[in-house]
Amino acid sequence: MMPAKFVHKKTPKIGVLSSIGKNASALVLGLKYFFEPNRFTLMYPREYIVLDKRYRGFIVLIKNKCIGCESCARVCPTGAMKMVKFEVPNPKNPEKKKIVKYPTINHQRCVYCGFCVDICPTEALYHVPVHDVVYFNLADMIQYVESFQKEPVSPTAAEGAVPVKYIFDPERGLVKVRIKEGEKQ
């Protein structure tokens, strides 16, 4: 137990003379960054980040694993994930129909919190590390069982943008590194 201590401080005072020095100091710093800029901008449509596998991107369904337990729909905080009922013939009793349920997703609402992926007892849902998918109309954003199973493709990657990744650096903060063909995971 070492509780935090309160430390009283005062803002440093600056006189008239030293303010000239401070002006110069700021100007010199500006010039330093003018000549040696530190930039890590992502040139987005021409470059794209190869995201971590842990990234909570678009969600895809593996239909075979789904047991229709509704957990994902219950836990969805925005009502994006909802179940759809299907009637399929019951192999044991051909007279009665069997009802199966599968999740569907509305990407207009999804906030990618990943609760559905985490709560799924059979790992039937998983995240794809893709964050930029374009839909041509709003109706397409509601994905029913068929389209929900397809892994979305990032349009930038599909159009041949340069894959990059960021690595941490103690001097420059982040450094953008180009990923070569072989390196791709």
Binding site: A26, L27, L29, G30, Y33, F34, P37, N38, R39, F40, T41
Partner: protein
Amino acid sequence: MAYISIWTLTRDVISTVFWGIVKLIFWPPIYQFVIIPGLVAALVVVISIIWFERKAAARVQMRYGPLEVSPKLAGYLQLFADLIRYSFQEIIIPRTADIIPFITSPFFALLLSLLPLAVIPVSPVKWTWPLTLSAMRYSVLIAAALTTLSPIFIVAMGWASNNRFSTIGSMRESFLITAYELSAIIGIFSVVATVHSFDFTNIVNFQGGGKWLGLINPIALLAAFIATLISTSAFPFEISDAENEIVAGPFTEYSGLMYGVNMGTAYIKRWAMSVLIVLAFLGGWRPYIPPPNAGYIAGYLVPSLIVSAKAVVVMALMSFLRAVYGRYRIDQALHISWKYVFALAIAGFGLGILEGYLL
């Protein structure tokens, strides 16, 4: 015979027309006001300087600045794209605005901020002087007087817009006019005291051999520099159109091309002031000395380009300050300009008199 005479006639006509156009272009009032350092040069410089300002600030700020419009030219054409966009935007005139001053003020402000350029010499060759010889003897006085005209129309814009932010903005502008004009003019006039002449030609000739007045009298140069910053609302004195406080100050109600004109006016004014500073402090067209009977190129174009190049450097320096400073509050700016800049200007004037006595 007839064939030849027609040929010679055509040749004569063409050459007359060509030389007529050349003469017209290099006719001092036209050349100074429209070509260099006037409208055309001002536009090119302003567009380049805005581009430089954005790029320089971007380099300091971990960004790239304009790039998408022409990646190979480092985004230089972005400004032209902006210009085109401005010119196609709808110009909205508020119903409550006072229409005639609202429409005319931006253009008067633009024209008047260019006017000082039409009365200054950009070459020592006599035929290039835009004024008569007797008027030329007072060119510093005339140019300085003309620089004071355009702010009135900025105040008028704010008043005509009938918008609260505009009113506050033009109120700030009118405070600042009184604060910087005196310092700027006294700063430039300290040169007059040193050289004992109101003639820019004499002042520039005085500065031959690296004897720049800016080096001899740096206090006056600093005063004139800061006063220029204040007058053209450059950082850290971007006060009359402070975006986060009063939206766009006097220009709040302007849209489309009129807004573009307003934004350009500040830069054009900065350009005119930079040219004045170059002539007064930074050696004008020196070290180049044209031959006494020089023609259009050697006697007019080259010296004017030298002056322009120096002025561009001054402007670039002013623009770079955007990356380093925030903005002062209006009362602080007034405090600074009356207490420090004015004192600097007076000190520079005193130094100028002293040097005029000694040198």
